[in-house]
């Protein structure tokens, strides 16, 4: 890996988990 690869890696590493973690953070389902 070169410097440009590292820069892209860091960018992806900080963006990629966002949708999953935000989705998992949804409120708990209401129990009837």
């Amino acid at each position: 890996m070169n410097e440009a690869g590292l820069a892209i890696f860091v960018l992806v590493a900080f963006v990629a988990p966002v949708p999953l973690l935000a989705w998992l953070d949804r409120p708990p389902r209401a129990r009837s």
Binding site: M1, N2, E3, A4, L6, A7, I8, F9, V10, L11, A13, F14, V15, P17, V18, P19, L20, L21, A22, L24, D25, R26, P27, P28, R29
Partner: protein, 183 residues
């Protein structure tokens, strides 16, 4: 620091549930999200240091990571969320600035006071504790996620899958370990 930033984002969410989670999580990573394009554009410089922890040297990151620019990015990012109210905007700004605070113990002195400043901050755990830094970050993650889990149970307006969040953040931390890292 990597996964610790995400843990901090979840802890901030726990303190301010009205703040959108995606916005917080982008905020905690914003300085590094900017770092990537800045390096590609030649505005900032990094070099690889194989065999020397953490595997790279952040030679010039003043526009994304200096103290002054961290404050600027925090205010600018918070302003994007003004329509959510001042509290949420402030929380978003705090999320961005938390990145600088958490980077401070890990980075060697490469965090300038402002772009071009000769004064650089950083306590250098990456260098002085080539594997120990990972355990220090693990403590940060444990504390932040414990708070997130506690608040999720009492608030019930977020955090419906606390254990899945814990698992994902821990996986990110394991992937970034000095024993597995690509650097």
């Amino acid at each position: 620091m990597y996964a610790g930033h995400f843990a901090a984002g979840m802890a901030i969410k726990a303190k301010a549930p009205a703040a959108p989670t995606w916005g917080l999580l982008v905020g905690i990573g914003l300085l590094d999200i900017l770092f990537g394009p800045f390096v590609l554009l030649g505005i900032e410089r990094v070099s690889l240091t194989p065999g020397v922890s953490p595997g790279f040297s952040l030679d010039y990151i003043d526009w994304s990571h200096s103290l002054a620019m961290a404050i600027v990015w925090s205010i600018a990012y918070g302003a994007l969320f003004a329509r959510y109210g001042m509290r949420v905007a402030g929380v978003m700004a705090l999320a961005v600035f938390s990145h600088f605070v958490l980077d401070l113990p890990m980075h060697p002195p490469d965090l300038a006071l402002w772009p071009g400043s000769s004064i650089h901050l950083g306590f250098g755990l990456w260098r002085s504790m080539p594997t120990g830094w990972w355990l220090v970050e693990l403590l940060v993650i444990a504390g932040a996620l414990a708070y997130y889990g506690y608040r999720a149970r009492t608030e019930r307006t977020f955090g419906g899958r606390v254990w899945a969040v814990v698992l994902v953040v821990l996986l990110l931390h394991i992937m970034n370990s000095p024993w597995l890292s690509a650097f």
